[in-house]
Amino acid sequence: MSAARKNYFLRMSVVKNLEQNYASISRQKSVDEISPLIKTYTPFAPYNEQVLLKPLHISNIVNTTGNTYQVFFDRPHNFNFGLGNVDITFSGVLGGTYTTLNNQVFGASDALTSVDTSVLITTAAPLSGTYTANSGQVVGDYWVSNYYHLLAVSLECLRNINATIVKVNIAGGCLITLGTNNIRNGEYLKFSGFGGLTGLSGYKYVKKVGERQIRLYNDVGLTTPVTVTGTYTSGGIIERTHNEYCEPLLSDQKISAYQATENFPLYESNENRLACYSSDVNTNPYITNTNYFVDYITVQAEIDITNDTTDLLQFYNQEMCRMIIEQAALLFFATNTSGEDVQLTEVIK
């Protein structure tokens, strides 16, 4: 059997075993077996309503001026430069002194050309020799670089509750009179845009003192009232945080009337990207997606059959190794049923 085929069966076996264990993660045995190989509830901030999966592969590196180099990728990088430079770490780069980039962190900035697929970095010294095209990749905390297989994803979003602000009374704490609303006692809500007032912004605890009146507090025990100064003029937005696990948005269900909502979000993963939806194609202007919390199998789980130096017991416990081999054998026999395909070799004692 070819090495590629062996790898295929092992990969299938690893994923199947990890998924089975993840499904019963409440049992300590399962946790022990997969904890070095999965990451759970790892936050990623979406940009362009998506988070990239897997490393970005480098297709070319070109010197633009001085020590500044333009790094081209094989696909759009989806970096958000609105918050400044994005840290990226190089690995696997070949050719000349370009290899010195490997394992180094650079603050990448927006490129002036090919902005979607390239970034600019500045090195300490000029690079010499010739870069080997299509060698190397970059990883970073910005996207799911060590992704191997998706297990689950939850979406955190902010939903404007669209309550009419009737008036704000700041005497003796902050008392807000609202229109029709579904606010409940003890909720932790985000306030913004209250004209003329200082101190009424960010997250506050809410005490409901009437069907249409709430008082704001700084603590969960509702003992320290929020201090607000100024005179209320107009405006005011109250937002609620939702965090729900997503169900898959299957291609044959895109036509369904059951589109994503903040209470029932959906996700899809394709083209090395993960996108979560809190409304139909995220078009609801009152909802902002803030974070994805991703449970996934890391690249650590990949078994390279040509690697004879790494001890698998560092990552898999003994029982897990046995199960992977057993599962791989079952998969092999499930796909090879003829006698010609299966040839048993006598064991020499």
């Binding site: 579904n182 249409r212 369904s256 059951y258 209470n263 029932f264």
Partner: protein
């Protein structure tokens, strides 16, 4: 039980009863919608038979007038669909207003024309309650909503789903009545007569 707990309970019901479902049904939003529809059927049948519904099935809601057809002598209040279209109590939030429900538009017009000034008339028109008093800006409604999530004052995270707990299993039975079990029952040969009690196809 909250909406989430209702959905989880429905999923457990499906698993325990080996009900054959596809992934489409198992979308959580759809399970809740199916529960709403089945609840409407169960409670609607109760009302037709003349049974009283317990208070736990009702949802009270304080709502402001809508920005709809303003400037006339009526105020409009947007409400969610109710079981049997019954809005049991609609009153001003000051606690002393008196309201009278009208089932038909002619009944509504007649009672207004008869000049009953101390009782405010209301009538269900589309998604709105049309109230014959433009001075009433906020009302308290009490009804059994078909889908509580359509009620603007309902909180998905915090609020109990308005259903009597004793009815939940009946509604689940109704929900999945048309879905087949994954396991078919084996015919029992209970008579010791060296013959099958059920006829085989070959015979």
């Amino acid at each position: 039980m909250t909406c989430k707990q209702i959905i989880d309970a429905a999923i457990i019901y499906v698993e325990r009863n080996n009900i054959a479902t596809d992934e489409t049904l198992l979308r959580r939003a759809q399970i809740l919608d199916l529960f709403n529809a089945s609840k409407a059927k169960v409670l609607g049948d109760f009302r037709i038979k003349g049974y009283e519904l317990t208070g736990k099935n009702y949802l009270k809601s304080v709502i402001d007038k809508s920005t709809y057809e303003q400037g006339g002598k009526y105020n409009y209040f947007e409400v969610a669909p109710a079981i049997m279209n019954e809005y049991e109590y609609v009153g001003g939030t000051n606690g002393c207003s008196r309201f009278r429900e009208n089932v038909t538009i002619s009944q509504f017009q007649n009672t207004i024309n008869q000049q009953v000034p101390s009782i405010t008339q209301y009538y269900k028109e589309g998604d709105y309650l049309k109230v014959d008093n433009n001075g009433v800006g906020t009302i308290l409604t009490n009804y059994v909503p078909v889908n509580p999530m359509k009620v603007p004052t309902f909180n998905f995270e915090y609020d109990e789903y308005p259903i009597d707990d004793a009815l939940v299993n009946t509604i689940f039975d109704m929900m999945f009545a048309t879905y087949q079990s994954k396991t078919s029952g084996t015919p029992k040969d209970t008579i010791s007569d060296s013959q099958d009690t059920t006829k085989s196809i070959a015979k």
